[in-house]
Symmetry: C2
Subunit: 791 residues, 2 copies
């Protein structure tokens, strides 16, 4: 059963794995709508009846849904197209203008994608911040303002936990002006009710309009960028629904973030604008260059970190990343960040709520607690990945998968009930992180900043370390509780059927742990100032906010196993090179600890969970297997199905095609010599045969040949032969059967191959598809789990 | 003449092209010394007598000098080695420790390289700054201090052009205490004399001890990292001599910088530490991972920009850059930067002299002058590249190449004579750039800062735009003169036989042009404040220093065609995200303008000039040629020299080997069928035959076979056959003759191949080497110069 890569029956399972089958008919409607919207294929169809399908489809769409693309052929197609365009430019003025448009299309698309991404991010930021606050109350005279803006308008900058005069909690709206048990309960009820309603709306919207809008999207983006086709995943409908439901999901207080989904939204923008230009729309490989840049823009607006975004795209998401893309990704990320800064969603001139700016020095000895945070972050990552995957597996195998709405509603209910009493879980995660990253100043009157300080010198920028008051102890208890709650809820939340990112919850968990460690260290330093060399200079020994930041980096590193991009993102969040060493130490240790227990981050885990055909180029395996072990047919299996170059009839070929499900058939000189001529693709073959029958009056007995020399007519009665050499790919990739499997994997991942033929002493022996490679790796991994090395 | 890739006669020309032949015997001595030092090959040898060579050489060195490496085989070799090490770790405790050492070697080497690079850079920075000042005078009581330090020690922070009391100009040392014509002339003479002496010493050292130490080294580093072998280029001797002569060359006042050479020094450190670990020392492909990281560290210390360094390595220098390298490069760059910060060579806590920190806003309309600077920068780049390449070509073809010392001395003399009268060319380029980047404050009493200002509000951080005084007009004239002088001298300087970087002169030229534009704009703004929206807010309309920075980026972009890395480096120099948009606009426009006139930057030009075998992965060509057009033998040439698998004798093979210069021979099943069995490499073949003759008593008539089945003895009298299957590479790369040449180029550059076989219908037709690919590209380029596209 060679060459059945991507055969429909195989990827049918995927439907379920993608977890969209449960949405029933809606999915296909959506798919068809998106098909016609994004890919221009006008015929809607189901994948089951493939032969009929291929016959009836238009020729414009090169790949079927859930198929793998062939990078080398696509890039070659693009080169030929470009050559034609450049050659034609001398012919007419119109062609000249077109050639300039053609060459400038990349920059144009990138600019548009950047603009759109920045714009979407701005709206989402404003919406999420307003909706999060609406759970607690409303701005009476200007309901469209969130709590902070409402109080700003009133010049009430120092609003405390109760808000300012214009901001009414729900109990106040309903007349309970005093703070008593009744009003507390009323607020509590409103909080829980609104949370559940938002979550319900989010999941209903996703379910009804765009099933692909659920989750963080990063595992799917990685898979798609590696060369897989999932139609509609970046559709306009997905964009709209994901943007709306993201706001609802974040506002509902569920333990999730909007950073991952923002990358998905950015990629949707990328896909939509790529649709405007045939250069990108018709070429899946070129389109992925735009998507790479878009994902950089997504991270850029999510964290206000353009350089970090580019590195994220390079390190984590992209597969095929030519240097041209680096430059364009950077441009795209920068445009998006500039638009977002212009929108200024938080009114702070910063792109994220938790931007901090301090540069108090740190002591060399503090690397010890930072390393401990790194170890803890790594362990947290391992635990989180294991538990989350266990829960997702349970969800897939149990009845739970049939009730996604109920699951979300129940989770939102539990989250809201647990969250409200604790002030650190009640506020939105972004605001919590901002609180934890910040240093305590004289204007902060929260428990966490209850230090016994003498604030006479208000102009001072660095506040000396002081003794903690009772409020700090109280805050530490609440933070510890929040840590447990957040960590537990995130395990169950990542994977539910609403847009759900993982960055913010991971950062929150890490920041809580780090801040607790920071406060403890601070008190140690206060009691033993001689241990810290920075104490003597400024009186400021330990920056508790820095510990929160290091903890956040460690946890996020443990969960996602990002490295450079994570450090750069955190560094762009602080705007100073001072803390790059602590961050790096924490991230590197967290990664080492994590890698010792589980291979790969949470995204790799979810890719594996969903059986996506993702060939990880970062993975190496150390077996002695050869191409002969990877190829089909296996030893002892029936021979490879091949065509001979000059003695088959139309009927023979049609029979072979309908009897098998292979996507490609090798053509050989003769059955005996098995010398390779080329490869014929099923889709093109079926079309060519149909055309021959309709246009050239070919009959079942017509000879088909794949050679330069037409055979002579055997007799005047026999039908004239047809030549199909023009559909033969005469440059298929070949390796010998003695090629090490490592090298085969490298060729597949570096060149982005779809199929490769295996020869021995010049004769064709077998064929390797991307799926065979993935299957081989999977089989070896399950036998020897230690044999896989992540680099 | 197929397969003559890297044959000695071919690369003999290279000797001259590398411009080391003129150094005569010294080169070979050096080469041998470095050979034994770096590569462990104990036998010194000349390349001319290759056959004898190969017979007598030890087997440890896999490649010859000036040969191309085979990435795929090297990586496969490494994988096998790693597998053995990991497998053995269960055997004994020693093996276990070794396996940990083996796995940790990468991080260890990287850390050491970072430390060494930071240390070297610190020493070079201190040395260059002291030696630059010694031309002007001396610190009487502490001769080891430079002017700035000398005055600091005396608490004379505000030293002007005449220096402080402790700093004696040479005329003062010799008793001329008054400032008159006599002392001026005395100082002038000392300046010129010392400049010439330093330049003379630099060129003599390079000539006598390490010819490879000349130039910037970046074209060679690019070539070596792409998989070429130049023995001794990263040797210990090169490191020492380059470090010393770099200081001398910079101090001599020649129009050159130390930034490029610092990358070379970092790579030398990388090579030396890689030598300590067999994992890297014995594997050229793995060694290049270390060199990639080292080059990042080099840029990191050159500009104090660790992230920029990593991106430079990724964008400009590296060829094979797995993601693992990204992370390690970052670490290496960070370690180097930390060490340099600890050394603190300038006493300012910053890693470069021209670090600036300001963030006054810029207006949207200023993008117009920034774009103009971008255009000018691009044009400057084009002009510079053309003139410099013309001059280098002239040097190569004229008698000038025989007198490198004289050339350097004369150039130093002219430079010194022209430079002294103008204060902006008299000071070192770094200091000039620092002056131009900086904003004028109340403490600056130089001409350029002669504004009619009211400095009562000294506490203010932003100084309002003011009317220019007569000093500014004077300074502008001097700067214009300096611009012309610097630009002209750099054309003749880049390429001389001392360490000579291009970054600093380019930045200086750009900064001068930018500063002039900035001052002009400033005066326009002062007279029309309503045109600039930022004027109303702070009174500060135009930041002249920002224009200098933008101009510098534009010029450097035009000359080198760097993009992301350049923007990131400039951004790290300023420490703020505010100016990233102006910088990006200037760089992108400069690149567009430059690319419209010349393809590729100055480094690509020098690679081409020197005919280095560099296969640029950024380059694409749009021809319809096929693999059949690239391969040897050409149509009509004699057939490919092949071995048959079972009917040749030892004598046959030895004759074929000695008659040809090919590096590899394909093995086929039979002359008739030409079905491919594998590839035999000359080096291994010669060794195997020698071993067979010596150990297994093979005689000339012995049959040699390359099969699994040994043939039967034809008769008892005939000698027993020998089987050499074990030296056959049974997994050579193959493409069909119909494969587009584009795809062939892509395979070669992405996989790092050395040779690839060409088949047609299963029979062997020809062979393609990296040199054939380069030759094909070169041939097409010379016929259709427009056909090459840089991306």
């Amino acid at each position: 059963m060679e060459l059945d890569e991507d055969s429909p029956s195989d990827w049918d399972e995927d439907d379920e794995l993608l977890d969209v089958s449960s949405f029933g008919v809606a999915k296909w409607q959506r798919n068809e709508r998106n098909d016609s919207r994004n890919d221009g294929s006008s015929t809607s169809r189901r994948r089951r009846d493939v032969f009929h399908d291929i016959l009836s489809m238009d020729s414009s769409s090169q790949y079927d849904d859930f198929h793998t693309i062939d990078w080398v052929r696509d890039i070659q197609k693009y080169r030929n197209q470009r050559k034609d365009v450049l050659k034609a430019k001398k012919d007419s003025r119109k062609a000249l203008i077109y050639s300039y448009l053609y060459r400038g299309a990349g920059w144009l698309v990138i600019s548009l994608v950047g603009l759109a991404t920045g714009f979407c991010a701005g709206i989402i930021d404003i919406g999420a911040s307003w909706m999060s606050d609406i759970k607690l109350g409303i701005c009476v005279n200007a309901f469209w303002l969130n709590q902070e803006e409402c109080c700003w308008v009133q010049n009430n900058t120092a609003f405390g936990e109760e808000g300012c005069s214009e901001w009414y909690t729900w109990s106040e709206v309903f007349g309970h002006s005093t703070i008593d048990a009744g009003s507390y309960i009323l607020n509590y009820i409103f909080f829980v009710m609104l949370s559940v309603i938002m979550a319900f709306l989010a999941v209903i919207f996703v379910r009804a309009f765009a099933p692909y809008a659920c989750g963080s999207g990063i595992p799917e983006i990685k898979t798609i960028l590696s060369g897989f086709i999932i139609r509609g995943y970046f559709g306009a409908w997905t964009l709209v629904i994901k943007s709306i439901t993201m706001v609802l999901a974040v506002a509902s207080g569920l333990s999730l973030g909007k950073e991952g989904p923002l990358v998905h939204v950015a990629c949707c923008c990328g896909n939509l604008f790529a649709y405007l230009f045939p250069k990108y729309h018709q070429n899946e490989a070129k389109k992925r260059e735009i998507l790479s840049a878009a994902s950089a823009a997504g991270v850029s607006v999510a964290f206000g970190a353009p350089i970090g975004g580019v590195l994220f795209s390079l390190e984590e998401v992209s597969y095929y990343f030519p240097l041209k893309t680096l430059w364009r990704s950077f441009f795209c990320a920068l445009v998006a960040a500039s638009v977002l800064r212009w929108i200024n969603p938080f009114g702070t001139d910063h792109l994220v709520m938790f931007y901090v700016e301090y540069n108090t020095p740190w002591s060399f000895y503090e690397l010890v607690p930072f390393s401990v945070l790194g170890i803890l972050g790594g362990l947290y990552g391992v635990l989180f990945i294991k538990l989350n995957l266990w829960w997702c597996n349970y969800r897939k195998s149990s009845n739970l998968k049939r009730h996604p709405v109920l699951e979300v509603v129940v989770l939102a209910l539990i989250t809201a009930i647990i969250s409200y009493p604790n002030p650190y879980t009640r506020q939105s995660s972004s605001r919590l992180i901002a609180t934890l990253f910040k240093e305590c100043g004289p204007e902060d009157d929260i428990d966490l900043c209850d230090y016994k300080r003498n604030f006479t010198r208000v102009d001072q920028s660095i506040y000396p370390t002081a003794e903690a008051g009772p409020g700090v102890t109280n805050a530490l208890w609440q933070l510890s509780l929040a840590l447990v709650v957040k960590a537990a809820l995130t395990v169950f939340t990542f994977g539910i059927k609403v847009p759900a990112g993982l960055f913010i919850p991971s950062i929150a968990v890490g920041a809580i742990a780090g801040r607790i460690a920071g406060v403890v260290m601070e008190q140690v330093a206060f009691n033993n100032p001689s241990w810290f060399d920075s104490c003597s200079a400024t009186g400021k020994c330990v920056t508790a906010g820095l510990y929160a930041m290091v903890g956040a980096a460690a946890c996020l590193g443990g969960v996602t196993r990002m490295t450079v991009s994570l450090v750069v993102i955190m560094f762009e969040l602080t705007g100073g090179l001072v803390y790059i060493v602590p961050l790096m130490v924490a991230v590197v240790i967290s990664k080492w600890v994590g890698d010792a227990f589980t291979k790969g981050g949470i995204y790799d885990g979810h890719i594996e969970l969903n059986d996506y055909p993702y060939l990880d180029s970062k993975r190496e395996f150390i077996h002695n297997t050869l191409a002969a072990d990877v190829m089909r047919p296996r030893r002892g299996s029936p021979e490879l199905t091949t065509f001979t170059q000059d003695n088959m009839t139309v009927e023979d070929i049609e029979m072979l095609v309908s009897e098998t499900t292979f996507n490609a058939f090798p053509v050989v000189v003769s059955k005996e010599s098995k010398r390779l001529v080329g490869l014929v693709y099923r889709k093109e073959l079926v079309q060519a045969l149909k055309k021959s029958r309709n246009k050239y009056n070919a009959v079942s007995q017509s000879k088909v040949c794949f050679t330069n020399e037409m055979p002579l007519h055997p007799s005047p009665d026999s039908p004239s032969p047809i030549n199909l050499l023009y559909i033969v790919d005469q440059s298929p990739f070949q390796v010998t059967d003695q090629t090490p499997a490592n090298t085969v994997v490298e060729i597949f991942s570096k060149l982005g191959l779809r199929t490769c033929l295996v020869t021995q002493n010049g004769t064709l022996h077998g064929i390797i598809t991307k799926k065979d490679v993935l299957g081989h790796i999977g089989a070896l991994e399950s036998i020897h789990p230690e044999s896989m090395l992540f680099q």
